[in-house]
């Protein structure tokens, strides 16, 4: 397959990568070392591969890397500021919302997109925001509590 270049911002850093036109954004991000982007189904069904594209959650397994040309991509690796964790990350740890942790990056990114848009969401809205991310470990009570607590803490 012919190689091509893609230019994008990942976690605030300008990147230029050589890719094949058919490469998925998920595969390219993992290849470049963003291991927080997880592969759970490659079919847009589990949400584990979530990243924020210009602030909106998308499934990176459903998108070609080439389509991210010029976009701002945020992965879980870019959510903390240096060693200072984001309130959502703190809340997930404090509320025992992380079990195996495989879905955690996607949960936090979806929650972040919600809080950025709506700083004080209802429980309904939190559940709506997490609906696209499957978690087989937690039963969702603690993740939902963590997001609500983080929203409260940000007040």
């Amino acid at each position: 397959m012919k190689a091509m270049e893609v230019r994008l911002n990942v976690n605030g850093e300008a990147k230029q990568w050589t890719i094949a036109p058919g490469d998925l954004l998920l595969d390219v991000l993992r290849r470049e070392g963003y291991f927080g982007v997880k592969r759970g189904c490659e079919a847009g069904e589990c949400g584990a591969c979530t990243v924020l594209l210009d602030g909106k959650p998308i499934n990176s397994c459903l998108m070609f890397a080439a389509q991210a040309e010029g976009a701002d991509v945020l992965t879980i690796e870019g959510v903390a500021h240096g060693s200072t964790l984001h309130p959502l990350q703190e809340a997930f740890l404090d509320h025992g919302a992380v079990q195996c942790g495989f879905c955690t990056p996607a949960m936090i990114l979806n929650a972040k997109a919600l809080l950025d848009r709506k700083p004080h969401p209802s429980e309904e809205e939190v559940r709506e925001a997490l609906a696209g991310t499957y978690c087989r470990c937690t039963g969702f009570r603690k993740p939902v509590e963590a997001v609500l607590a983080a929203a409260g803490a940000k007040r």
């Binding site: 740890l93 025992g96 079990q99 195996c100 609906a131 991310t133 470990c137």
Partner: protein
Amino acid sequence: MSSGRTVVGHNVRKVEGVKLVTGGPAFTDDIQLPGLLYGKILPSPYAHARIKRIDTRKAKALPGVHAVLTYKNVPRVPHTTAGQAWPEPSPYDTYLLDSKVRFVGDRVAAVAAESRAIAEKALRLIEVEYDVLPAVLDMEQAMAPGAAVIHDEPDSKGIYDASRNIAGYILRGIGDVDQGFRDSDRIFEREYRTQRQQHCPLEPHITISWLDGDGRLVIRTSTQVPYHSRRQVAMILQIPVSRIHVIKPRMGGGFGGKQEMLLEDICGALALAARRPVKIEYTREEEFYMARTRHPQILRMKMGVKRDGTILASQLTVVATTGAYGSHSTTVQGNTGSKVLPLYRAEHMRFECHVVYTNTPVAGAFRGYGCPQGFFAQETLVDEIANDLGIDPVEFHRQNVIRLGDTDRLSAQLGEGKEGLPRIVRSCGLPECLDRAAAAIGWTGKRQALPAAGHLKRGVGMACTMQGSGIAGIDWASAFLKMNEDGSFFLQTGAADVGGGADTVLSQIAAETLGVSLDKIVITSGDTDTTPFDVGAYASSTTIISGGAVKKAAEKVREQVLRMAAKMLDTPVENLTCGDNRVSAVGKSATMTEIALHSMYKEKTQIMDGASHFNTDSPPPFCATFAEVEVDTETGKVRVLHMATAVDPGTAINPAQAEGQVEGAVAQGLGYALTEELVLDGAGRPLNPNFLDYKIFGAKDMPKLTTILVETDEPLGPYGAKSISEVPINGPAPAIANAIFHAIGVRFRKLPIRPEDVLRALREKETVADDQCV
């Protein structure tokens, strides 16, 4: 219940937590290896067939292909994939690759190539001619005369009756059930059916294997059983155990599906053949039918009771299918009897089970390990009996359940593949679990509420369940601790954190015992080169067995620390205590750092020690599950409004993590009750191997959850702990089925309970009612 404890009983943050919330490399796939090849397995398209001809020349000739394996170029060693202690009680009926395939998805061949696309293309280039055989898909047909024989190979071992497709047979009992039934005033007997559920860990099975600089085979894999996998791979690939290094990074969920040597053998074989690193990861679709499932069962449950509600006799007769291979076949089904029937104090019990082969996906270990099936039958029947006798189900349970000080004699009859050991109840919070979960759901008021008008009917139902904590006399673990110059300790354990937080709990036990803060414990786990033996994460054993080993090792190390401090402080050991990162006597103390430096550089002594641990009993954790549902009689949809679960886990070492275990188990139990089933077509092909068609509960589907920990003090557990991860999965299905009965007066005895089943049952009920009016 932290009673003066500073670490145990506290909601400390998860060790590794920061790495997980920031996306640091943690899981098997979070590594980049130069020259990595992609491994891929060619799955059988037929449920039952012999390979007449297989030609791999075109695949081998494809540029970028580095290895192609078929049954012709690998060793043929009968084995089981069940990750169990040696000698495994599962039949040795599986081969790395075979000339016969026994289910859709069975291994035909495997390739390693430079990219996934090339590997997939290579699979398409393998020419296979099959001799298609009649398939046995229905477990009731499997034993019938004339059924195709699935394991007709002469070299398999340990199959109960291969000619009748019976992988295993169990018959055990106590007392005399026939007499018990004769003495009963009422006898109830019903049949129940349970389905094929898949674990659906968010991280599918994945293994990466390579040869290290010394030519040893490294296997980096998402497994619950690093040590068993090492032993099994050594046997299958015929290389010494010492030439294999299994590394378990963090696991993205397992739930029993990874208590299995599943990809490690074939991935290792490809790495050896290609002399390059190889990765095999299942796609989600492959995970559904090429990994493992829960055993489907048909259960016939019979109980005899006195008019006052006393259960005299219980009998459970089961046919289960293990699929094409007998992984965990008799042990899972043994649990269906041994952990379920003894919940009640009946004097007479009998359990009989045939575990049969069918040409279907392979069943294996799955959280609950045979108990969800058994409790669905037992707790639904018990609800029916209580209703029939006009006794409140909660009362009925209080009257009949096992109590503190009781001995469960059936367990002695039903061990893990052999005679077991009697179980004595040394701690029991079940009565309190019943009270508190009933109160949380609003039992009394809601049971008495009049039925609502309209099409939305509400009901409440309940179930009691129990489990074990480790396998008595079989599960064992070891741990090692050594002290560093800064007063910290390295803790090495073979235990495998599935994601539930074992690393955190074990670190808490070490810290508590040594009197140091949690940050002073640095844990390494699940690495066969650097950590001592552990059977692995299954049977709810890690906290009690691995935790027991950690506590013993920490006690030995504490002794050494105290003796060293005694010398430094010139004070007898008896006058010293550990705590607060120091050793203190009246008026003087030394910090752990000072003690470590003194020991290492003055006394030239490394403070270190290890210990092994096992139990001869498996203390049961108890659980009461209460459900409130709303049934839409127009659509048949069952909406669960509230699940209240009260569990007695002994001491909760980390209460928040313990609650998380309960809630995750309830979520999986809800799916088991209402939505989850891997469906096969008439040719044995999976119809719904994806998350759109196989529905697990998501954030919006979950009901309100109330989680109650009723802590007790278990004498056999470290700091009084038993276990928690499995027991709460047993209750949701029967509790929901009972709540549905309360709501609409219809019994469901088959899982999952789908809207179409509810509608059909409601229509039948109406028809019957109409007929009676005529």
